[in-house]
């Protein structure tokens, strides 16, 4: 049981002047209960990769298998794959279409011909998870703010009870509270239900904090694959791949290179504690004050 991506390659508009290689030789594996973050600059191939994971794009080179089922056109198994892999698109709120919140969230379970009682249970569970009050079920989803629409769209994917969740920039445009809530929910789904999560993001801090593994794409190729800790030393040099290192990581790396005894970290509390433990920083500050006076 896992999603296995092997030597995947994809080219847009092959054989035309617009030919663009979007992915080349990408291999990795996503197991249930695992959290993989895919990071990379705009145009690095992240969204193209996501669309391969539930059969929206068939591989041109290499292969993708979901729990043993190959993602290929013409095998009649795409429907199965789409039940197993829930895909939350970038800006899912732009894809809302139903007249009421309830109809929106119940779309997938109704498509799978669940009995109405089961549909209702799934809608309630998914809505509750996202903090969508029942009182809003009969309202139009279009009357909500951007962040609230996002929650409705994610609830409608969860209502299909997928085994894996692929999310393309799910926190872009969300405020910090909603972002924290969403990440806590994903974390919970991962540990309580063993959901495998693949999250596409520009947000390195989020990737470092949440992931078991990180895949860094650059111009369609695998630039890095490993644990967050293994990625840290790489990141400080990664402006070349259009990813700004998190501020705290940049600061800790600069301090390290100047001989300070601090850990390489992206976590502000870890760095604050290290700096507050080291008496030399107070001395240096006093020296600086003396120089200034």
């Amino acid at each position: 049981m896992s999603i296995v991506v092997s030597a995947l390659g994809y080219t847009y508009h092959p054989g035309t002047p617009l030919e663009t290689v979007a992915l080349e030789d990408i291999s990795f594996q996503l197991e249930p209960g695992q959290w993989i973050s895919v990071v990379g600059h705009t145009g690095s191939g992240k969204s193209t990769l996501a669309q391969h994971l539930n059969g929206l794009l068939p591989p041109q080179r290499g292969s993708v298998e979901v729990d043993g089922i190959p993602c290929r056109k013409g095998e009649g198994r795409l429907r199965e794959i789409r039940r197993i892999v829930g895909l939350v698109f970038q800006y899912p709120e732009q894809q809302l279409f139903a007249e009421t919140v309830f109809d929106e969230i119940s779309y997938a379970p109704r498509n799978w011909s669940c009995p109405e009682q089961e549909v209702e249970r799934r809608v309630r569970t998914a809505a509750e998870r996202l903090g969508i009050p029942e009182a809003t079920f009969q309202r139009s989803p279009f009357h909500f703010s951007g962040g609230e629409k996002r929650k409705i769209a994610i609830a409608s994917v969860l209502a299909a009870s997928p085994r894996y969740l692929v999310l393309d920039e799910p926190t872009a445009g969300l405020d910090t509270t909603s972002r924290k809530e969403l990440l806590a929910l994903l974390k919970e789904l991962r540990s309580s239900e063993g959901l495998g999560i693949l999250l596409i993001t520009h947000d390195l801090e989020m990737a470092l904090e949440m992931s078991s593994r990180i895949l860094l794409l650059h111009e369609g190729r695998r630039f890095f694959w490993g644990t967050p800790d293994e990625l840290l030393p790489e990141l400080t040099e990664r402006n070349a791949v259009r990813l700004a290192p998190p501020d705290i990581l940049a600061l800790s790396s600069r301090l390290l290179s100047r001989g300070c005894s601090v850990p390489l970290t992206w976590d502000w509390e870890t760095l604050a504690n290290a700096l507050n433990r080291d008496p030399s920083f107070i001395l240096r500050k006093n020296e600086a004050d003396e120089c200034a006076s």
Partner: protein
């Protein structure tokens, strides 16, 4: 005659039809010429509604909004209002209409009926300011996200709008694209344009000359960025200071760095390890 305030909101309330609660509650706000005003708030706090009220896309259900002295409720003034206050949306894909970069930037001045020479010169300078001159003849679909958003800003500049309202213009961009857009805004502000910048990213408002925080449709804070950002109340508004600000505060509190250290990692580094 130029008015003192670019935008003057007087006890503005707005309630969407069918909604039970108002989206804006009793907002009084005066925006001066040349200000870079950051409008902060969590999702659903009323930020985008406020932007639409200021652009006369929505008319207050109570109270009044004036743009350069023109009341937004007067439909005869719409033309005057919209050429003075240009709205740039979150999603750059939704606001590009031209096939090529220069066609797109020319869309606004064409609609205003300028002669061709005037249009060409406006487009040329708008593309120069936004760093897109080299892309002038390129199809718009070849642009990156950051470039598209800069093109949307160029469109607003080509109609010579003295005031730009930007509704989360960096939300869809990667860190490099975000920095590109902020650089353009900083230079426009330095040239005296008024910028109303809507965001929920606290760190982006550090560049603003003034920050207004909206919560649940009402203004809950109005002041200099540093005062608003250091407020412990941020959490209650659904906002959270970025990690660098939290570190800065912890180091100031423990006496490691001077209290006037700027909130950037290079400033923190310099304060921690003076080069002397």
């Amino acid at each position: 005659m130029p008015q003192e305030f670019v935008c003057d909101l007087r006890e503005v309330w707005y309630t969407y039809s069918g909604a039970r609660a108002p989206a804006l509650r009793d907002i009084s706000l005066r925006i001066q010429r040349g200000e870079w005003l950051g409008i902060l708030g969590s999702n659903g706090s009323g930020k985008s509604t406020l932007a639409r009220v200021m652009n006369a896309l929505l008319i207050p259900t109570q109270g009044a909004c004036f743009v350069e002295g023109f009341p937004t409720s007067d439909t005869a003034s719409l033309w005057e209002i919209r050429r003075r206050m240009a709205l740039v949306f979150q999603n750059p894909e939704n606001q590009i209409v031209g096939a090529t970069v220069e066609d797109d930037a020319a869309f606004g001045p064409e609609n205003l009926g300028f002669p061709p020479d005037e249009i060409r010169s406006r487009v040329r300078s708008a593309l120069a300011v936004t760093g897109l001159s080299a892309k002038a003849g390129k199809p718009t679909y070849t642009l990156s996200g950051g470039e598209k958003q800069r093109l949307a800003i160029a469109g607003a500049l080509a109609i010579d709008s003295p005031c730009l309202v930007l509704d989360e213009p960096t939300a869809m961009l990667d860190p490099v694209g975000r920095a590109e857009v902020l650089d353009v805004l900083a230079s426009l502000h330095a040239q005296g344009r008024t910028i109303l910048y809507i965001t929920h990213r606290l760190e982006e408002t550090l560049l603003c000359s003034r920050v207004v925080v909206l919560n649940n449709g009402a203004v809950v804070a109005d002041g200099a960025a540093d005062d608003v950002l250091s407020a412990d109340a941020c959490g209650g508004w659904g906002l959270e200071p970025p990690p660098l600000l939290l570190l800065r505060k912890a180091l100031i509190d423990s006496g490691r760095i001077p209290s006037d250290t700027l909130p950037s990692y290079t400033a923190l580094e310099a304060a921690l390890c003076p080069s002397s």
